[in-house]
């Protein structure tokens, strides 16, 4: 359960931190809370892991990362943990997840590779497949052609009370 004052803070900063010399004092003014309390509470929420990270969220296309491939494999369940851990160690891999297999979609291991262009991503994938011995498993590469929507999740009152 998230405390009411924490909840109030989280709602106020979810769309962004003020860009001014004393941002936490500014948030304090908006929430009617002293700056020291804002800093204490946010520090604690970060330690608890509820705030994963404070910082910038980039648009990868704007930074020149034009190719993004979702690569999926069907790997035996008893190997997935080891393979997932190995894949995550490559610097060009941004995400690696296990997800349930579906009818007509037998894949259970997913990773995302962001690269400057398609050729680079394919070369990186080849390196990954070699190093992790993935070549014997069924694999598909899904490049994204277009991004229609990209936004952060928005939480209202109800979201936080269920925590």
């Amino acid at each position: 359960m998230i405390e009411a004052r924490d909840r109030q803070l989280l709602e106020h900063i979810q769309l962004g931190l003020p860009v001014c010399s004393k941002p936490y004092a500014e948030i304090g003014r908006l929430c009617d809370m002293p700056e020291t309390e804002v800093i204490e509470r946010l520090t604690q929420l970060k330690q608890q892991g509820l705030i994963k990270r404070m910082g910038v969220i980039v648009k990868h296309r704007q930074l020149g990362y034009r190719a993004n491939a979702m690569v999926v494999w069907n790997v035996p369940d008893n190997l997935i943990k080891q393979l997932g851990g190995h894949i995550g160690q490559f610097p060009f891999v941004t995400l690696c997840y296990q997800r349930p297999r579906q009818p007509e979609w037998p894949y259970n291991l997913y990773c995302m590779i962001h690269g400057k262009d398609k050729a680079t991503v394919l070369k990186q994938l080849e390196q990954l497949v070699d190093a992790c011995s993935l070549s014997s498993f069924d694999q598909e590469i899904l490049f994204s052609n277009r991004c229609f929507k990209q936004r952060g999740a928005v939480y209202k009152n109800t979201a936080v009370t269920h925590g």
Partner: protein, 147 residues
């Protein structure tokens, strides 16, 4: 975007201090003046290079839920399906991908129950089967990209 902007983006992807003068602290680390950092960050947000500057929450700890879903949108209905799916406020990201399953989107809801409700509503409005692929296990997440 010049080298200083890149330096700022890379530094702020690693995190932002929680203290009384955080911009001054970051500026000092980067060898910039506080006001210069503030001005450049504002510009990067205004011109859309950065989506957002602030916290990234752990959805599950917030009580919410996330899933990855996909549909097979027929070519001739592709734009219509895109519009229907993007109109859902629960849809956080949506990508066209090169596959028979050609539209992949993330659903983020305030409660776990709303995931299924959203999927049902999308199926009803599109007439398509929604493949639901929630995360079983997370092995690695690093959204940092070198600018």
């Amino acid at each position: 975007m010049d080298d200083i902007d890149k330096k700022i983006i890379n530094a702020l992807q690693d995190g932002f201090p929680i203290c009384d003068a955080p911009y001054r602290q970051v500026a000092m680390q980067l060898g910039l003046l506080e006001q210069e950092l503030i001005n450049r960050l504002k510009a990067l947000l205004d011109n859309g290079t950065l989506t957002r500057f602030g916290p990234l929450y752990n959805a599950e700890q917030m009580g919410g839920a996330l899933t990855l879903a996909a549909v097979k949108a027929p070519e001739q209905r592709f734009d219509e399906i895109t519009d229907i799916i993007n109109a859902f406020p629960e849809v956080a990201h949506n990508y066209a991908r090169s596959h028979e399953l050609n539209m992949w989107f993330v659903i983020a809801t305030e409660t776990p129950e709303q995931i299924q409700q959203t999927i049902d509503a999308i199926e009803q409005q599109t007439g398509l089967t929604v493949y639901n692929m929630p995360k079983n296990q997370e092995y690695f997440v690093n959204l940092k990209l070198e600018a």
